[in-house]
Assembly symmetry: D2
Homo-oligomer: 210 residues x 4
């Protein structure tokens, strides 16, 4: 794998992203069609750029011949939720599929344990079987599950990291931390609204049944 | 127009939404292709549901025969931005097209003057010419321009309004106001980051040129 | 299953159609990306309309509780090819996946044995596992593989059958048969072109190597 | 225009293709929604590859600074019809829009006057106004209107022309002519079916009304 044929190497990852996007979008469509609440607001996906794969393998000291085993986010799926609570519902959906169309190989809960930078998200690493015109392959994929506020913040942080080559200057780092706090605050207020709505519904049910 | 053939009535609005979505998405694609910053993050569109048109025309006491002239948001386009400042860049893009492929007939700046509920957004009302298989028509459309945080908040408010038939209970109304404050706070922190980045760039340019 | 909840019943079929479309389109994209010839020209899919499922179950005397086992084309995928020879390449692709992401349960070769009406196509019936938000299910799906000319003819025949409630008048039936012959002729001429091209290429290779 | 910035040059053409695809697809959707027959079966579009623009400008001896005025098919839209008669209905739709959202600057009827090679299609050259983030521009676009059989044949001829660098060997040229005849035959049989159906409908209407 010294000289990687990138076009060919990335094909199963591209297929996996397309298939997984369809699968998670289907969950949303099903629930809405059945008149039920969907914990999934929208789904995006991407294959990591070659330059980013090379940069990451260098940073993590991964040999070229092991990148498919050690770089877990070459295929990436992102699932956006309205409420923090929804994230765990989505994680449950994925767990139920473990051993069926996908295999869960690891999770990282950066919501309970958020990063110093302020980054919050729930990551599930899966193994996914792909059939291509050139044969079959099990690939790794990373599913990131976040609220819209977490996603908003992470998008900005990502472009700043890229801009400053991972060396974000201190004053900007500080501002970014403040923004993370504001995003966290927003998520908490939203959870409170969700809680109030449930309370209001329960009170209504109690009154109705007496 | 006593008995409206809704299928037929809504066709030019559906076409307008499709065409306008393509046009605003193209601006984003162009800028990214040219390696420039896009003030447009993503674009969505929808035609108002018949039940919502009827409810609004009743609430605003609009005669059925005038709904195409007096209900301005039957065709709706929503443009999401990362930073508050980007909203005004998008408004400028629309103004430059005034008299070309669209005509601006009104603006509502709910960002400088946000609603009591906490609602913030910039609305541009346009007139847009549509050619259908059944003839031509100038229709009205509403373009809403918002940050992601504004959009997030407005989506929640909209579903609560719908749930409580526009009578949101006071405790939930209060929570919603707190969430609006958190969303506003988030936008301000983001603008600050944007400002810091510019400062950092200017400092860099000054140093480089000396 | 006396009173079928159709919305819910059809959800796994809709998911299957979406997933299978993505999977077969990926084969085309892969091959083109690798600079190789794609036997797949384009892919479409659809879930059978409820009225058509009812009509077919009545015609074939299938009990409502057995429609998921006995009606094989509720989920339908159609793969279009340029040349008749390509059809068999696509069939090989499907066979190679047998026991992996799908299971082949039957084939019908209406190309070697075309129907009296003039209908030609290759059908593969598969079993496909689907994970929904409401649980898992193995469903049946029919993959139709055809040339563009076969598809063109079949589309017309389908709309005539529908129009005349399966009783196409004799003079139109005759015209349809003539059109089937013309479509067959077109496919044969195309295969000849394909053959000539290969001959030309071989002659060129022989000349080049001497 | 000695050194063309191709990325920038092609942007308005890409926008035009996207907008025109949406507009013609809308006609189909409208008619189907209204329960009427659509003469449009499907619509595709593409921007000419840079290498093909260069090859064509060289072959036609067009100066680089005039390619936007003299090469008419940099933006190309293709509309596919079931019956030859439908082509003229689509041409009428385009003529009705002349002076509204587009301007017709020329037509080429290769159906009445087919090319020696066997090529048949109806071409309409239009001028179309585009608003980009970098300003406005009137561009030329070519709309090709064809039956499915014409399109099928033309696709093959195009790939052979490309393969043999416009020098298709005689035996293949002959086969191609035979295929064109078969495609023409197929279209004629289809038109006959269309005629028979109309006759059958008229007879039915006469019987019903007596």
């Amino acid at each position: 794998m010294q000289n990687i044929d990138w076009e060919k190497f990335l094909i199963p990852y591209e297929n996996a992203v397309e298939e997984l996007k369809v699968k998670f979008k289907s969950i949303r469509n099903e629930l809405i069609k059945m008149g039920e609440y969907s914990p999934i607001e929208f789904v995006t996906g991407r294959v990591k750029k070659i330059s980013s794969i090379l940069e990451k393998s260098k940073r993590l000291e991964v040999d070229m011949e092991n990148i498919d085993k050690e770089i877990e986010d070459i295929a990436g799926i992102r699932i956006m939720c309205q409420f923090v609570e929804d994230i765990y519902t989505v994680v449950d959906y994925i767990s139920e599929r473990d051993g069926k169309d996908l295999k869960v190989v690891g999770v990282k809960d950066y919501i309970t344990n958020y990063k110093d930078s302020g980054y919050r998200s729930y990551h599930v690493i899966i193994e996914y079987p792909i059939q291509t015109a050139f044969g079959n392959k099990n690939i790794l994929a990373e599913i990131q599950i976040r609220t819209l506020a977490m996603n908003f913040w992470a998008t900005i942080e990502h472009s700043l990291k890229y801009k400053y080559k991972r060396q974000i200057p201190d004053p900007i780092q500080l501002r970014l931390k403040n923004a993370a706090d504001a995003a966290f605050q927003l998520d908490q207020e939203m959870s409170q609204i969700r809680h109030e709505i449930r309370q209001a519904q329960k009170m209504f049910e109690i009154r109705s049944s007496t």
